[in-house]
Amino acid sequence: MRLIRPFLRPWLAMLIRQRAVCRALLLMLAVIGAGYLLGLPLWPCVFADVTGLPCPGCGMTRAASALLRGEWAEAWRFHPFAFAFAVIGLFAAAGAMLPRASAGALAAKVEAWEVKSRLTAIFLAVLLIFSLMRVLGFWYQPPLSRPSLFFLIQEMQGGGGLRHQTE
């Protein structure tokens, strides 16, 4: 129980209380989103670039883009947690934009709900399990924007890395 306790600590309420972080996060996500629409990778995923495997957040930008277009099935395929992250994003936006008193009241309500339901802790645990399952190939892996370092090395050694990458 002592090991599990830190994971049960409310985190969404803490995020709402970090108003400056929420503001910067929204701004940065907007810039990265605009870059994505223009075809500019402004936050390259180093993990995917090197290993060729999806990191826990890989596919989220494409899923968010699909969500904005109203393509629910496509969003689910790219990242099933995009819906939940959209809700978290709304809470972060509330933390960033609401007046200090209102944001504090919202954070207090969310904290009480988190302590009571433990849902946010369960959410993180399920998300981590999902990420592991996706790495192991039990879920659709979003395609990489370019061959990874690992496949590039294979290709240079004549191991047919590119053939594997395109299959």
Partner: protein, 129 residues
């Protein structure tokens, strides 16, 4: 430029970017882990995990707390690594186009994929009004 020399040049750029990617990856990873340790200690496991899932959050949090927690140097290095990886991603993408264009195996795979996509498009029923 001859196709073979194009391929050789692209392979050269690819090799150089490969080495640079390795260095940037290590800097990125070390800075990220350092911030994550501070994040776990200061904010607990929930926001720590959020920092793993969304490295942008860890990055912003790191900058916000850089003075308080003495993370300024780490954050400057992390920023340099991110900017370098953005620049490198453009360079290596250009190099990859060259490598792929000169690889007959890849061209064949691309052709097969295009044919398959066309076939799938033809098989799809027309959208109903």
């Amino acid at each position: 430029m001859e196709p073979t020399s194009t391929a050789a040049a692209a392979t050269g750029v690819g090799l150089a970017s490969l080495a640079a990617f390795g260095v940037i990856f290590i800097i990125n990873l070390v800075c990220w882990i350092k911030v994550l340790i501070a994040l776990f200690k200061k904010e607990g496991a929930g926001l720590g995990i959020l920092g793993i899932l969304c490295s942008i959050y860890a990055y912003i949090w790191g900058w916000m707390k850089s003075t308080e927690l003495g993370l300024k140097k780490t954050m400057v290095w992390w920023t340099i690594a991110i900017l370098a990886s953005i620049v490198l991603s453009f360079v290596s993408s250009a190099a990859m186009v060259g490598v792929m264009a000169s690889n007959p195996e890849f061209q064949k795979a691309m052709q097969e994929a295009q044919e398959k996509a066309q076939q799938l498009q033809q098989e799809q029923p027309a959208p109903q009004q």
